[in-house]
């Protein structure tokens, strides 16, 4: 394999990796703030895909503009889900939140399958290719990576520079103490769930601009989000981005040295091993 090819594989991997990263960021944010493993994450990613796809193909609205709408819808939708379901079980044993989010997943996937069937969709959108020396990259993937970085920056600005963002961190740190300080924890939890959902929807929307998909596709990205979350440390949003890059690099490079079908085996074994040896994640600071 020539170096140009290797570099292209690596770059492709990294570009898709950051998009995985943003999906994982949503998952890990929700875990960090409220200790909920959101099993509806994949369904939301799928809905994000359909959102961008349908707006683009039906109304001819530019996919990136559609993405904005999808993000907003994701935020509101997530908050709604929180108020209707999660809020009722937030203090129950963790099995309740696992099953509640899984039930939501079933409902969305069930409705989605009934309405959209499982035939693959393709937005048929392209921005051409960009060549940098020996490396050739798809424009849509490049833009997706840029959007991801922007969103991550935005999330950081929100968490560290704004009042509600500081509240989110306070609640994540210690909900009881935050409540004593007068922080409206119920609203902050809803907001956090909304943001987590929004990030999943954005990830889905971005993926729809360069991959074909169906209603079940989100599930794969949910699993990748788990792996990334564990790589980067559950509850650590920057970790998610780095974890995404690591996973992306692995997916870019491993197929060069082994059959494609072995890649997920490596990924899941890695996931198990990290959980066992360092549940705080490779990049996470404090251990259990």
């Amino acid at each position: 394999m020539n170096p140009g090819g290797i570099l292209t594989s690596l770059m492709d991997g990294l570009l898709i990796g950051v998009v995985y990263g943003i999906a994982a960021m949503g998952l890990t944010l929700i875990w960090g703030v409220m200790r909920v493993i959101n099993l509806a994450h994949g369904a939301i990613i799928s809905l994000g895909m359909f959102g961008v796809y349908l707006i683009f193909t039906n109304f001819g609205i530019h996919p990136y503009l559609a993405l904005l709408l999808v993000a907003l819808a994701g935020l509101l939708f997530g908050m709604l889900i929180y108020y209707i379901t999660i809020a009722r079980v937030i203090n129950a044993p963790y099995l309740s939140t696992l099953l509640a989010t899984f039930a939501i997943n079933m409902i969305f996937i069930g409705l989605g399958t009934a309405v959209f069937t499982t035939t693959p969709r393709d937005a048929g959108f392209s921005l051409g290719n960009v060549s940098l020396g020996p490396v050739t990259l798809q424009g849509t993937r490049l833009v997706a990576a840029l959007v991801t970085l922007l969103v991550t920056g935005g999330l950081y600005f929100f968490l560290y520079r704004t009042r509600p963002g500081k509240f989110v961190r306070a609640v994540a740190n210690n909900r009881a103490a935050a409540e004593l300080m007068g922080i409206p924890s119920a609203r902050i939890l809803a907001l956090s769930f909304g943001i987590g959902t929004m990030l999943a929807a954005i990830a889905g929307g971005l993926i729809a601009t360069f991959f074909s998909f169906n209603i079940l596709s989100g599930d794969i990205y949910q699993q990748k989000s788990f792996i990334i979350g564990v790589l980067g440390g559950l509850g650590n949003p920057v970790g998610a981005l780095l974890g995404g890059l690591i996973l992306g690099a692995l997916e870019g490079l491993l197929p060069l040295v082994m059959p494609n079908t072995w890649v997920p085996v490596i990924e899941f074994v890695l996931f198990i091993v990290i959980l066992l040896v360092r549940p705080s994640g490779l990049l996470g600071g404090k251990s259990e």
């Binding site: 099953l99 039930a103 409902i107 069930g110 009934a114 198990i272 959980l275 066992l276």
Partner: protein, 324 residues
């Protein structure tokens, strides 16, 4: 509770329900009814065995189907490649599942709560993707049984009944084992771990061994049942053997019926499978089967987290003797 001769209404009622489900299609030798009971009995075995880990010990696993899938594969491999007799294949399936649980248990049962749940998802996916690459088990295509294998059991038609009688036996055995475990010293140790694992250690329970033993105990029957299911099915492939959804459906059955009780998983399995059967055949709900199941699950989680049997036991103390 300790007198062997004393009357155990909870046990007899549980066995009677399972026996009734099992015997139902036999007098008429009705193949359609048999299929219905077969599905319910498999669900009963899966839910009852998972309940040992989840209901008694308090460890929520999303990987229960791994044992079923691995057992199925090992059994099918022996049946197909070595023409092993079915009973041997069943035992081998159970043994393989138990061995896997033993090897995994020490490592993964260190993790608590949601971390354990997460790692079991990882185990399921690792197993599925690994078997998809594992040539002796046919990699991604799996193992399809040569038709001649059924010959030893009087042809495919007769073999289905043999499989059925075996599953009835395994379900009865599973329920008996579940009851005995719950009312044993081992079971008391498990429930102590469920209530407070740190306190359990302080009280002298050797938690790593006790939990591993529970994990092994919960793995063996699914391994055996997996062999039966895929033998009947005629082929096994990674997607069917390691479907995460099966694990979660099993969790739902336990939640529906009530975790930690003997009767709960039985009623949960029966209720869930009948509902599913109804939804799948109903013209209105056929496409919305998943939606209805999801709404049902959500309602249980939000409003009766103790499940039907748990709720009844809380409401009516006198029922505690009957609904073990």
């Amino acid at each position: 509770m300790n007198k062997i001769a004393s009357f155990h209404p909870g046990l007899w009622l549980a066995l009677a329900v399972v026996a009734a489900i099992g015997i139902w299609p036999i007098p008429a030798q009705d193949a359609a009814l048999r299929e219905v009971s077969f599905t319910v009995l498999i669900a009963i075995v899966m839910a009852t065995s998972l309940n040992v880990l989840m209901g008694y010990t308090g460890y929520v696993s999303f990987g229960h189907v791994v044992f079923y899938g691995l057992g199925g594969y090992v059994g099918m491999y022996l049946l197909n490649d070595y023409h092993a007799p079915l009973p041997l294949a069943i035992l081998a399936g159970g043994a393989a599942a138990g061995l896997l649980a033993f090897l995994l248990g020490k490592a993964i049962l260190k993790l608590r709560g949601a971390y354990f749940a997460l790692v079991t998802i990882g185990v399921n996916e690792a197993m599925r993707t690994f078997i998809s690459n594992f040539e002796p088990f046919g990699a991604s295509t799996g193992i399809a049984l040569q038709f001649s294998v059924y010959g030893a059991y009087g042809g495919a038609k007769q073999a289905l009944w043999v499989v059925y009688y075996t599953i009835v036996g395994l379900a009865l055995f599973g329920v008996l084992a579940s009851y005995l475990i719950r009312h044993s010293k081992f079971g008391l140790g498990l429930m102590t771990i469920r209530e407070d694992e740190d306190a359990a250690e302080v009280m002298g329970i050797v938690t790593p061994n006790t939990k591993t033993l529970a994990f092994v105990a919960s793995a063996i029957l699914p391994g055996m049942v997996g062999v039966l299911f895929f033998f009947k099915n005629g082929n096994v492939e990674p997607g069917d053997a390691f479907r995460l959804g099966v694990s979660i459906e099993t969790l739902v059955m336990i939640m529906l019926g009530g975790q930690g009780t003997v009767m709960g998983p039985i009623l949960g399995a029966l209720g869930y499978q009948r509902l599913r059967g109804f939804l799948l055949t109903s013209p209105i709900f056929k496409n919305a089967q998943l939606v209805v199941a999801g709404i049902l699950l959500l309602l249980i989680v939000l409003f009766i987290p103790a499940g039907a049997v748990g709720w009844l036991r809380q409401r009516f103390a006198w029922l505690r003797k009957v609904l073990a």
